[in-house]
């Protein structure tokens, strides 16, 4: 199946910028890459979604602030990206995400493996996340 020219690279570039904002602790800027009515659900929250940009920003700001006190640095790696473009211009994505953590003065370690699914909508020459669902591997 042929993908529209340049779509795959465009989405890869979006995710690189998006995760770099997250890992830099820029919670509000990161949340701005979701739509106003964006939705974020993780199975570790028992499927309870965060709805709306502000709720998404608030939750991430809490997580960032908690982590910055510990001196741990997290890096999100995205890979195994597959796209399903829709006729309305939105794109469903399926991908894997790894979280690598490095404690202050310590060695980097693989922290978490996840599988994710987004619905991206076009925004000028980039994308916004309308919906994200994250599933953590190994949830007992």
């Amino acid at each position: 199946m042929s993908l529209p020219a340049g779509l795959y690279l465009s989405v890869q570039r979006f995710y690189a910028a998006h995760m770099q904002l997250l890992d830099a602790g820029a919670a509000e800027e990161w949340a701005d890459t979701f739509t106003e009515d964006g939705e974020f659900v993780q199975d570790k929250d028992n499927g309870l979604p965060r709805r709306g940009r502000q709720a998404i920003a608030d939750r991430m700001r809490n997580a960032v602030d908690r982590q910055s006190g510990t001196g741990v640095v997290s890096r999100h790696w995205i890979g195994m990206l597959a796209l399903d473009p829709r006729p309305d211009g939105s794109v469903r994505t399926d991908y894997y995400a790894l979280v690598v953590r490095t404690p202050r003065g310590g060695g980097a370690d693989l922290h978490l493996s996840t599988v994710c699914q987004d619905l991206l909508v076009p925004d000028t020459d980039s994308w916004l996340v309308r919906r994200r669902s994250v599933s953590h591997d190994g949830r007992a």
Binding site: S2, A5, G6, Y8, M80, L83, Y96, V115, D137, R139
Partner: protein, 147 residues
């Protein structure tokens, strides 16, 4: 956006993007234990060989059957496996065949446990383009750290 037409024998940008997409779907199916979807990414006569096994496995049915056994074993042990592919180098052989060499990390998470890298491997694949789809024709897996 226009793309330069690749010269004969070159892998175009469009092909490279599609091959990344192929690998994403191929590994997602494998890791989800979706044997039917995974089998559809293989040619009929696909050959799998590994440096840690003496004999290759030949044919889609045999290879898929082995895949099902492996996935069943992982599920029974409560282990989630993910194949992470990167450093993909694609070299065309002819108009519809490429050599694709990539690194694959095998990451496993036991139920209630912590994700860890289980293996580092190199895959030397041959992909063929048939009826608008890429399919895996052969794979040689080299496990790092083995004789």
């Amino acid at each position: 956006m226009t793309q330069a037409t690749p010269a004969p024998g070159e892998t175009g940008m469009g092909d490279f993007e599609e091959i990344q997409q192929f690998y994403a779907r191929h590994m997602q199916a494998l890791d989800a234990g979706d044997a039917d979807s995974w089998a559809r990414t293989l040619t009929d006569g696909v050959v799998f060989s590994q440096n840690i096994r003496p004999a290759p496995r030949r044919g889609r049915d045999i290879v898929t059957s082995r895949m099902k056994e492996t996935c069943g074993d992982l599920a029974a042990r409560g282990v989630t496996r993910r194949h992470w592919l990167g450093m993909l180098d694609v070299q065309p052989r002819d108009e519809r065949t490429v050599d694709a060499r990539c690194y694959v990390l095998v990451i496993e998470t036991p139920a209630g446990g912590k994700a860890a890298i289980r293996a580092s491997t190199v895959c030397s694949d041959v992909l063929v383009h048939i009826d608008g789809e890429w399919l895996l024709s052969s794979r040689e897996i080299l496990h790092d750290g083995t004789p």
